[in-house]
Amino acid sequence: MSILRLSHVELRTPDLELSTAYYTEVIGLIETARESDRVFFKAWDEHQHHSLVLTFAPTHGLNHLGFKVTDASDLDVYAARLADAGVDVVRTAAGEWGPGHGESLRFGLPSGHSIELVHGMEQVGNSLPLTNPPPRPMDLVGIAPPRIDHAFLTAEDVGATSTRKSVVAPTCWDSGSPSRSSATTGSGWRRGSRCRTRATTSRC
């Protein structure tokens, strides 16, 4: 039917162990899978397999950003719409990109970001039982947020980036949360800002 919400973020890190220690012990995410160069995490109240993926790389930054769609058929709908707009799309089957991952399609934004739409990620359950659950788990460490919320990107041409999103999802930015994704200019949203990175997830 449409894009539902932010699903996951994949970040690059030159120190996978340090980043993993931070996201598990300070942020309080839960590790759900590990490969030689990638670690997968979710927040405690999330049911899906991962909302953060750390990938070993020489630099910091955002590799891609994923949005959950409500129905499997949405992927075909958006693929057709993107094709009409002349956008190249890469599709992957469930589990192909990584453990627990759903069926997906990926494309680039004019702002240089890689965006994915995903459906059917493995449901691993939140950290509570489905019968008579307490309101929160008692063994959390760190900040322990219940879920991922939104992402904030930078772009040199903010208008062009929003237009690409509207090709993908003209009615989808209205499901009750103030924002799932925002964009600001690449030169920093205030004149004179020293932060000039490709994404706010990079170190400024």
């Binding site: 039917m1 359950g125 309101p135």
Partner: protein, 302 residues
């Protein structure tokens, strides 16, 4: 597509002036309109014409619950579904109800009059659209940003729930089962919240409460201060629910309709697995800190 959220609740009151004074000065709603027998109110962050209509009548109760649908053609789509299910639907034309265009109305299996509407007059929030402050100033009382949900009573909770889910597309987030596995209460959502509508065992057509959203626990505590200062009869709280995980206070308006202020909870996806509560855990299910439900909360409805 389909039902978006609760639009407005129409409750009858035996003293329109007293009810209006309470909902404006203690609750902190804004009057947007009046006609011969009713007053229309909204919360400060709501855009639409009203979320509460107070109607003068010799008894207290809920006249109507109105739900906003996302698209205009959802009206005929849902009208057909309700009709096929065997419940007659009436079309209410533009101009018949204050502040809104065409709508459809029908009686539900739980004996409630339900309205679906898309075209609603937009009167705007109490803050500007350019460089808005994050809150309005000068509103007295609790001043919740918006209405949140409604809990109604039904003789056959399972049957009522089936209608709301199968015909109207609500999704069940949580259910409370008796020892035989029968549903004695259900919580349903359309707006990615723990509940927009809940049904609990009781007489058909009854209202247990309607609830206002507050932003956090600090706002709940401040609301308790306001209620106590104004001598309002508090039913339960401030406390926490096991079901919905919400933070809450229940209290009665001066005419006896139960209100709630609510925050917290979680954000379920449409594929959220239903949580089940068993009757032997009913105390923690309803009031997590007390582990007990008082008779008044169980029995009193309007």
């Amino acid at each position: 597509m389909g039902v978006l959220r609760l639009g407005h609740v129409d409750v009858t009151v035996t003293d329109l002036d007293l009810a209006t004074a309470y909902y404006t000065e203690v609750m902190g709603m804004l009057v947007t309109d009046r006609d011969a027998d009713s007053v229309y109110l909204k919360c400060w962050d709501e855009v639409d014409h009203h979320s509460l209509r107070l109607v003068y009548a010799p008894r207290v109760g809920m006249d109507l619950m109105s739900w906003k649908v996302e698209h205009e053609d959802d009206l005929s789509d849902l009208e057909n579904k309700v009709t096929r299910y065997g419940f007659p639907v009436r079309r209410i034309s533009k101009g018949e109800s204050r502040g809104q265009g065409e709508s459809v109305r029908f009686e539900t299996p739980s004996g409630h009059t339900m309205e679906l509407v898309h075209d609603v007059e937009r009167v705007g929030r109490a803050i500007p659209l350019v460089n808005p402050a994050p809150f309005p100033t000068g509103i007295p009382g609790i001043a919740p940003p918006r209405m949140d949900h409604v809990l109604v009573t039904a003789e056959e909770v399972g049957e009522a729930t089936t209608f709301y889910t199968d015909v109207l597309g609500f999704r069940t987030t949580e259910q409370l089962l008796d020892g035989n596995g029968h549903r004695i209460a259900t919580w349903m959502e359309r707006s990615h919240s723990p509940h927009d509508l809940a049904v609990v065992s009781g007489p058909n057509g009854g209202l247990h409460h309607f609830a206002f959203w507050l932003d956090d626990w600090a706002a709940i505590r401040q609301a308790a201060d306001t209620l106590a200062y104004n001598g309002i009869s508090i039913d339960v709280g401030p406390t926490r629910h096991g079901i919905t995980r919400g933070l809450t206070i229940y209290f009665f308006d001066p005419l006896g309709t139960r209100n709630e202020v609510f925050t917290g909870g979680y954000r379920p996806d449409p594929d959220f697995p239903t949580i089940t509560w068993t009757e032997d855990n009913i105390g923690r299910a309803i009031f997590y800190y007390e582990g007990d439900v008082n008779q008044r909360f169980s029995k009193v409805h309007t």
